[in-house]
Amino acid sequence: MENPYLPYPVRIEKIITETEDRNLKTFTFSFINPEHEKKFSYLPGQFAELSIAGKGEIPIGIASSPTEKGYLTFTVNKVGLVTSHLHNMKEGETMGIRGPLGNFYPWEQMQGKNIVIIGGGFAFTTLRSSIIYMLHPENRNKYEDITVVYGARTPGMLLYKQELEEWEKRDDINMHITVDATQDPTWKYNIGFVPTITEQKIKTADNAIAIVCGPPIMIKFTQPVLEKIGFPPERIILSLEMRMKCGIGLCGRCNIGDKYVCKDGPVFSLAQLRDMPPEY
């Protein structure tokens, strides 16, 4: 019998420190058994359980795109038991990955639409996955305009800085990078909170769908802005976090009403969330 709790063994190929506070690192993994890579077929928005023998498992959004073959990446914020241990691990070490888990952004529904991506802080991970996925030559013509608003506290807290610069240079994606504040005179992008920049830069909700990921406070203030621009709740897509263990809807802990965030989510539309008890 297939054991859905059994992680695939993986090797840490690369570790990059992303932010100036050194609390965010991006880990690149490769599967030890190539069979497992084939089984691990995912779409942007899904997550996986990273498993460290002796410490436990943590749900982390997949930051790589399925168009990037041969490896998986995750960007992890150091907060507690497992994440702290992971931050101390070295390239070449063995651990486990279980997944892919949960649902993904509504890729079907998004075809032929203008895509607005709004991200804040380190919740940008599955949004990176989405951007890479859409920009891939095989996929780019499935979507109309792609607009990205991405903010962090300071320039040093932005993730994936090199890629951000590359995207800035492209003409098939509109980038609006912003920081809350900075003393850096060479900063060439926006200054201001994500909701404010969203209001300035996003002019229309026509044929558009918005994907929003960020800290609760950012989500709270971005929602009304999007609704003002004209996005109906069905076209505002959010990704939620809950404490998780099994990741497959069995252990009972991540429910909001009758939905399990791990299995029925983590991606929900605002319309769906309005029918669920506000307990997240």
């Binding site: 019998m1 297939e2 054991n3 859905p4 709790y5 059994l6 992680p7 063994p9 498993s51 460290i52 023998a53 002796g54 410490k55 436990g56 498992e57 943590i58 907060v79 507690g80 994440t83 070490e93 063995t94 651990m95 486990g96 609760p216 976090e241 809950m242 404490r243 263990k245 099994c246 497959i248 809807g249 069995l250 252990c251 009972g252 802990r253 991540c254 429910n255 909001i256 009403g257 009758d258 299995k263 029918d275 669920m276 008890p277 307990e279 997240y280």
Partner: protein, 345 residues
Amino acid sequence: MKGRLFTKKEWDKALRELSKSQKIFVPAKEKDFHNFTVLDNNMEPDFDFQNTRLSPKSIVFPQSERMFEYTLDETSPDAHILKEAPKDFPPQAVVGIRPCDAHAFQIVNVNFDNPEYKDPWWVRRYRATTFVGLGCNEPCSTCFCTSVGGGPFSEKGLDILLHDLGDRFLAKAITEKGIEFLDKIGSGKEASEQTLKKAALEAEAALGKISSSVPTDRLKEKTEIELFDAPFWEKIAFPCINCGTCTYLCPTCWCFDIQDEVFRKEGDRIRNWDSCMFPLFTLHGSGHNPREKKVQRVRQRFMHKLKYYVDKYGNGVACVGCGRCVQFCPVNIDIREVFELMNGY
């Protein structure tokens, strides 16, 4: 098959014989109460009981279960790689399970054995278990099985139903598994029409002895949000001490936690029962807790059983009316009153 009769002596002897070749759980007295225990020569089963203090869920879903093992010894090529803890799942039986508790296994089964995911430990043990029920001639005053889709002689979830006729058991096989089990026990005697009639009357009478009832008919009508926002939660929650008594004793609570434990260089990944009554259940690494207050946790327990489960699976409430939480909640929070409040809202 209509029914076979066994004298209690025969039954006891046959069970003991069978217990040499397979695991059989029977109710046995432990301190002031009963619990299911593995039958062996050093113990006396006691079928003269109302219900066991702990539900029999642990027979399929133990409180602590080793899932995986691993070594952290770097000299091993398999260091840090999890392997399923070796176990086998030979046929086993639980004899004397009350109909409510057997019904509970069905309710929980839809969680652990669903189209997308199968919990390997639950599924294998559940399938390997024969459920031999014992009808309730004398239900307790806190039982309300008949309001929630069961009954003192309900066959839901059972392979065999036993009826205590004083000095004899009348055994009725319900499933193939049940027939096989009875064959192993022995032939017994074919019950006469008269005995069957007497048993049927007694079962009928037992139905009338259920003195508690709860309403469930309107639970579907209200939305989750309406019930979630209902004004009565604070009042229900006030006395609650957020212990694990109700959820650990309950036959339909299935929530669990997963933990790693290491001794020297050898480690296990273990799953343990958990409870939505504990604050830790939902605490994020960031410190945010969506169910930080006790009223939120109390609401979760009742909403899960009486609303979320109802909406999700459409097969009734996740409560079989065994009355354990009613009797043993240390502060007397009575789910029957919560049924009234939620259904009447």
